[in-house]
């Protein structure tokens, strides 16, 4: 494309132009240094017994016991609880946001007065700073003494209900879902709007109505949008931290501690560099599984799509 119609006397110029492909180098170098170097260092740290509270303990564990941090993690039930919490949190939020996100997208995908306003209001929870959302839910909406939920529940005979204490994990799932429904909705709405009018018309002429139309025309078209939205959401929910930090601090006990929060505790309250790094490697592996799936979907799409 770049050199499609060069004049013949421009061989020299062309080779100079070819050098322009190296314009990407500074950016790529920067990205490698900032994102890959720390990862390599994390791998090294995970083989040390370094604890910042014990400045002398800075050493490599030695070839014989280099896997000690990993072994300690894998033989401790905390890891499995944390992993389970992470999976429960992520899958719950993804399922809930998918159901509501799809429903809201379908509702928004028809013209009516006030549609732009509805859309604007609906995307707002996603734009909200997560820690501000967490503070709002914890102190204003869910507060047992003065919160709205507690107030309305007293009509059902429940007094001073504190959701974050009674149901910590479901509460966090609810807050996160409130924030992420708009995300799924937006992407699925974009998918619905990219469905050509002519396809729907043709199906209608063939006698397709409501449910059949949805099952055989809309859903297959939406598939790649659904895959991209849910995988992307999964990647970000796996890294959720702020809302847990503000609402439950991982508790009670470790009931709401997910992998990022566990890493935070190992690193910045126990100052255990070695073990926190090893935990970090698990987080990276987990994320990479999803990233690979995401890129595969994306790549298939790019190849399937005929450029307009």
């Amino acid at each position: 494309m770049a050199s499609s119609s060069m004049t013949t006397n421009a061989t020299q110029k062309r080779s100079k132009l070819e050098l322009r492909k190296y314009l990407s180098s500074p950016g790529l170098l920067f990205l490698i240094i900032v994102t890959q170097v720390p990862f390599v260092v994390a791998i090294y740290f995970s083989f040390t017994n370094w604890n910042l509270l014990r400045p002398n303990s800075k050493g490599f564990l030695g070839l014989g016991s280099m896997w000690r941090n990993y072994a300690r993690i894998l033989t401790n039930s905390t890891f499995y609880t944390v992993l389970w919490n992470t999976v429960v949190l992520t899958i719950s939020v993804v399922v809930i946001t998918f159901i509501f996100g799809l429903a809201f997208a379908l509702l928004l995908n028809r013209p009516f007065p006030g549609r732009a306003l509805a859309r604007t209001l609906l995307i707002s929870p996603f734009l909200m700073m997560p820690v501000a959302a967490a503070v709002l839910w914890k102190n204003i909406l869910l507060d047992p003494a003065s919160g709205l939920l507690s107030y309305y529940l007293q009509f059902f005979g429940v007094s001073r209900f504190y959701a974050l204490e009674a149901f910590p994990m479901p509460s966090i799932i609810a807050i996160l879902s409130w924030q992420w429904i708009p995300f799924v909705m937006l992407i699925l709405l974009a998918g619905l709007q990219s469905l050509p009018e002519s396809t729907i018309e043709a199906a209608r002429i063939d006698g397709a109505t409501g449910p059949t139309m949805f099952r055989f025309i809309v859903l297959p078209h939406l598939q790649r949008f659904i895959e991209l939205a849910l995988l992307l959401e999964t990647i970000f929910i796996l890294s959720e931290f702020g809302i847990i930090f503000v609402t439950t601090t991982g508790g009670p006990g470790i009931q709401t501690t997910n992998l990022p929060y566990q890493i935070f505790l190992e690193a910045f309250s126990r100052w255990n560099v070695g073990r926190a790094s090893a935990y970090g490697i698990f987080a990276v592996i987990l994320a990479n599984i999803i990233i690979v799936l995401f890129l595969r979907v994306l790549n298939n799409n790019n190849q399937a799509e005929v450029p307009a």
């Binding site: 790529l28 740290f45 909200m128 700073m129 702020g242 560099v273 987080a283 990276v284 994320a287 990233i291």
Partner: protein, 275 residues
């Protein structure tokens, strides 16, 4: 026919009701910020009240709020500029001088945006400690620039591919240097794309918390998200209204940016994977 029209109206009403219900928590926070502290914690909750600006006065001007706001603004600004400075040439090379590796490079760039920050927080903390970047705005500027770099490259590359190629080619045939071509042809045509990308970068940077809370703590460097998170512990019962004022002030810029950039939001959230 009549029945389906009624059903249509009901669906529209339902949609508006749901939209309002989803927005209600934010509206409630906004309303609470104008209540007196007594009204803010009154049981039953007060839907009608005499508004006061006192909380805003105290929460914004008689508190460290503005110091944190200044940190957030400068961190956001400089990290976005840095991401653009590094990202525009990368996007340009990827768009106009593709090689065999361009496709895989683009995918790799995107994958870096998805790495869990928790996985590398320890080495970053230690490296920052040794480089003197801990508790410095510069530290977050570098990390956020890297965080937004994939967004910039993916968005601007797709904008560049949509530019009228004849114009760029004409400039090249006229012997325009790279700098002239960028300065006089590409950047001017790309202004709307750069604006949309910057707004999206603003949203992500402004709201980021994990890196901020672990790498900064002082008034000189920590952004607003760190300040807002300190409201997690109830500081007596007389702070709900002021907290609402501070939280409202902290989220308004991003709400506005998101509303303005609505059209680009989807492509921004999926790094341009979906237009």
């Amino acid at each position: 026919m009549k029945q389906s029209k009624l059903a249509g109206h009901l669906l529209s009403a339902l949609t508006l009701f749901i939209a309002f219900a989803m927005f209600f928590p934010i509206l409630w926070m906004f309303m609470t910020s104008f209540k007196t502290e007594a009204a803010a914690i009154s049981f039953p909750p007060k839907f009608f009240f005499a508004p006061t600006l006192e909380n805003w006065q105290i929460a914004i001007f008689d508190s460290p709020f503005l110091r944190y706001l200044r940190n957030t603004v400068s961190i956001t600004f400089f990290s976005t500029v840095l991401a653009l400075l590094l990202g525009i040439p990368t996007a340009y090379a990827m768009a106009f001088y593709p090689t065999k590796r361009t496709n895989s490079s683009m995918l790799w760039i995107m994958s870096t945006r998805m790495l869990p920050p928790a996985g590398v927080i320890v080495p970053i903390y230690i490296l920052f400690l040794q480089l003197g970047l801990l508790n410095k705005q510069m530290g977050l500027v570098i990390l956020y620039a890297a965080m937004n770099f994939p967004l910039v490259v993916w968005m601007l590359r797709s904008f560049m591919l949509e530019l009228p190629y004849e114009v760029i080619e004409a400039a090249r045939l006229d012997g325009a240097t790279l700098w002239q071509e960028l300065r006089q042809v590409i950047i001017p045509l790309l202004i709307p794309g750069i604006a949309a990308t910057s707004l999206l970068a603003l949203i992500f940077t402004w709201n980021e918390f994990f890196l901020a809370v672990n790498l900064t703590s002082s008034l000189d460097a920590a952004p607003l998200s760190v300040y807002i998170s300190t409201f997690k512990a109830a500081q007596g019962n007389l702070f709900i209204a002021k907290m609402s004022a501070a939280a409202t002030a902290a989220v308004i810029p991003v709400l506005v940016a998101g509303w303005v950039a609505q059209k680009q939001l989807v492509s921004g959230l999926t790094m341009g994977a979906i237009k």
